[in-house]
Amino acid sequence: MSITSETSEEVNRLIQAVEDADSASLLAKAVENLAAVNHVASIPTLIATLNYNNPGAAVAAVDGLIKIGEPAVEQILTQLDGYNYTARAWSIRALAGIGDPRGLVTLLGAATADFALSVRRAAAKGLGSMKWHWFPADLLEIAQEEALESLIFVVQEDDEWIVRYAAIAGLETLASAITNYPAWYDQIQAQFVEVANQDSSWAVRARAVQAQKLANSAVVPSLETPPNIDWQSILDNLYARKGEERFHLAEGDPRKYRGLACSIDSKPNQI
């Protein structure tokens, strides 16, 4: 992690520039400048930018939050907007890009049940690329198993080609992280074969063909040390999730949301 030692005066000036921006292009530029200093003091402003319905600014803000990484996670999680789906999609993208374990339970829920396809898409991609090496051994197995089950559910059940496409990309990354579990690895490969032969979208099939090749190359875990994380609460949430799944599977079923998803289907301002 390389947070710069920019003076707080400089950061304040850049934050002010974001607040003063009076056009879409000025705002995008100001957010880009703020994101570039990579400073924790910019986190609240970057998160606020996700609500402005300005794709250029939001892309820059997400990039900035991902670069800041772990110190931004708590604030993103507390401010996840339950109503503005565009802002939520950007927040999920940031969480997915950071890959911090504290975002796992949020990503699991978003990938399988959010009504906005851009949220499900971002979450599915992110589930594959969590910082698995940060998880303690006793938590890793249940966390990866949940990610695996959720991604396979999405690949098999989601109505939207791009969400299934993202889930294949997620499974591909996950496959290279779980080489210790041959049964899971085989399950993923079998899923790729099935999708390559049967998906209704040619683009998704092509991605599955590609994944069959790439998933064979294992990733080298980075040596970065994990931050101080409340593992017990993640574990509790995961167990709660598993319990829920057993008794109320319908709650996590994206089809439940299809009516709503249909009604926003034609809106052009999805991310």
């Binding site: 995008a28 794709p55 250029g56 396809l117 851009s118 898409r121 971002a122 599915a124 991609k125 109505d159 080609w161 791009i162 496409y165 993202a166 990309a169 390559a196 998906d199 209704s200 040619w202 683009a203 099939r205 092509a206 991605r207 063909v209 590609q210 089809r255 299809r258 009516g259 052009p268 301002n269 999805q270 991310i271």
Partner: protein, 275 residues
């Protein structure tokens, strides 16, 4: 996959109910049924017959003379893939309602039937009696973009010289539609690339709405050289992904699965970054 879920979960309408609603006294129910049959791809022969009949509907009129039910019926018929609808859609190209003509041009393209080309060409040149003045003129006298897209999509190469002048039309959206059609109608890939390159240029225009249009046009022609510029366009990721999907599908046409061309792999790598 879509259809399965539709029939299983959408408890608002059944096929039988939608067909009944198409003939209902309630004009709102008719409109919704026509949309619904297209949306869920219900290609039941009875539904097709009633939709074709709806292209001549006189009951549903807007205050200034438009035909809302005809518009929805034409859109649905395009999606349902039954060429029995072609003669009625060609007639609909002469409708006094601009939006009916637009929907009919799009539907004829989707049905892939060349018999509408002469009428499309007549419309492109403003030679179809009864279509002027339109009751709801939006700004243009004819749905030129839909007509150009249909001629390009249908591969009507004989219309190339009539399409070309629209490259200089005053409305950018129409210029793009002409570039898209010229790309599709030009036999030599080398010559065609100049039209694809025009659309790439449009990706860096100042107006978001026009950048979105260019993304859609490039996706429709699957121009591989546009892959990176598409990924870098200032627009929503969802729209860039749909555009890149068009490029990917084109690559899969040229080199069918399980082969993956270098182009297909490049496009997928760019798509992964936008998820």
């Amino acid at each position: 996959m879509n259809e399965e879920f539709a029939n299983q979960d959408d408890n608002l309408l059944t096929v039988e109910q939608a067909i009944a609603n198409l003939q209902s006294e309630d004009l709102g129910l008719r409109m919704y049924a026509a949309w619904w049959l297209g949306r869920f791809r219900v290609d039941d022969p009875t539904a097709i017959d009633i939709l074709i009949a709806a292209l001549n509907d006189e009951d549903d009129r807007t205050e200034i003379g438009g035909y809302p039910l005809r518009r929805n019926a034409a859109r649905a018929l395009g999606k349902l893939g039954d060429r029995r609808a072609v003669p009625a859609l060609i007639e609909a190209l002469a409708c006094s309602d601009f939006y009916v003509r637009e929907a009919a041009a799009q539907a004829l393209e989707m049905l892939g039937d060349l018999s509408g080309v002469p009428t499309l060409l007549g419309l492109l040149q403003n030679q179809i009696p009864g279509t002027l003045p339109a009751p709801e003129p939006p700004y243009l006298v004819q749905p030129f973009d839909a007509i150009l897209e249909a001629l390009g999509g249908l591969g009507a190469t004989e219309t190339l010289s009539q399409v070309r002048p629209f490259l200089d039309h005053e409305v950018p959206r129409i210029q793009y539609a002409a570039a898209r059609a010229m790309y599709q109608l030009t036999a030599s890939p080398h010559e065609a690339s100049q039209y694809g390159d025009r659309l790439i240029q449009a990706l860096s225009g100042n107006e978001l709405q026009l950048r979105r249009t260019a993304l859609a046009d490039l996706g429709a022609i699957g121009y591989l050289a546009a892959a990176k510029p598409i990924a870098e366009t200032l627009a929503e990721n969802s729209l860039k992904l749909i555009s890149l999907k068009g490029l990917l599908e084109k690559q899969l046409e040229l080199s069918p699965l399980p082969n993956l061309s270098a182009g297909a792999i490049e496009v997928m790598a760019l798509m992964d970054q936008l998820l």
